[in-house]
Subunit: 196 residues, 2 copies
């Protein structure tokens, strides 16, 4: 039972706070997590807080600007020590991550504030998702935030949804979470959990 | 950051644990909650734990057997004092609940282990949902677990989904959460939050 003073009520205005609610429920001190698309470091920062001083986060982004901004925010928060940033595509996830990990995050599409022509692609996203599932600890989760609205987004969405529908339900629980009363191209979440 | 010993990892095998994860994140000591379909008391019990000794739960069910079983489980857990049970249809919610409340739960369909011909109906469910939204505190949530698989379930599902799609997004965040890799008639969740 929570003390009314200790945490604020989550406000589920979009996929980011929803994703953060799940991460807060699943991650513990000492855990390992991967941010497969650091972008501006918003999620990387949260992962670093949640795994605690004895945990570790690996963050990936192909864009130097994203790695730099993420690094800056982590340093500002005093959390650099628990994070390794790699300017690499997430199709190389398995080469750089020693599993098992408790959470892997993907934000598909373009980097907010960045070059909108640099977007995640179905082929590399697909490879990275498969690698993420292999490295998950029992009970661990992959969260994918899908942004269908940009050019190329619809194609990627279809590929990811086909993948999600085809997962073996004895091995993975897989949820799609979207808002019912907004535009159909609004971003939404896929949450995959490896059955312990 | 959670201590690894203090709580177990949620296992999202179906809508019940997912619903319980949200309730654990949203409810605080001293809150008020409503179980609009007590059934066997599983959710009522959790709500009673989460609102603490200074909180209160009102539980509704039209079936005497459900009220009795829920009462029995609450007594066994020593939580009867913080719960009022009413053998009434949830279309009477507003008459018996003084708002505001932080959470209202609905499990649609039939009572597990009970008479499968006694099911929730679109008309009364619709009235109850509208009343639930009015009584919600800012930031409060309604969680509806929809079971489309039984006779009459498909019709109720359509009515509830139409209602969810029509909610004003400036007033309510509304999420649909279903599993991607199971039968299309599997139960799923709608979560509505009143924008503070």
């Amino acid at each position: 039972m929570k003390d009314s003073h200790c945490t604020t009520i989550p406000l589920l205005r979009g996929p980011v706070p929803l994703s953060h609610l799940f991460l807060g429920s699943f991650l513990r001190d000492g855990d390992s997590a991967v941010d497969a698309t650091c972008g501006n470091g918003n999620d990387t920062l949260l992962l670093a807080r949640l795994v605690g001083a004895s945990g570790h986060v690996r963050g990936f982004d192909i864009q130097q600007q994203a790695i730099a901004e993420t690094g800056r925010r982590l340093a500002e928060a005093g959390l650099s020590g628990r994070v390794t940033l790699l300017q690499k595509g997430h199709e190389e996830l398995a080469e750089h991550v020693e599993g098992p990990v408790q959470a892997v995050l993907f934000n598909l599409g373009y980097c907010p504030g960045g070059d909108r022509s640099i977007i995640t692609r179905p082929e590399t996203t697909g490879m990275a998702l498969e690698q993420a599932l292999v490295m998950l600890a029992p009970g661990g989760i992959v969260i994918v935030t899908v942004y269908p609205g940009h050019s190329g987004g619809g194609e990627e969405r279809s590929a990811v949804e086909t993948w999600a529908a085809g997962l073996d339900p004895r091995v993975f629980h897989c949820w799609r979470m979207g808002q019912t009363n907004v535009t159909p191209t609004a971003p939404y979440l896929l949450l995959v959990q490896k059955v312990p």
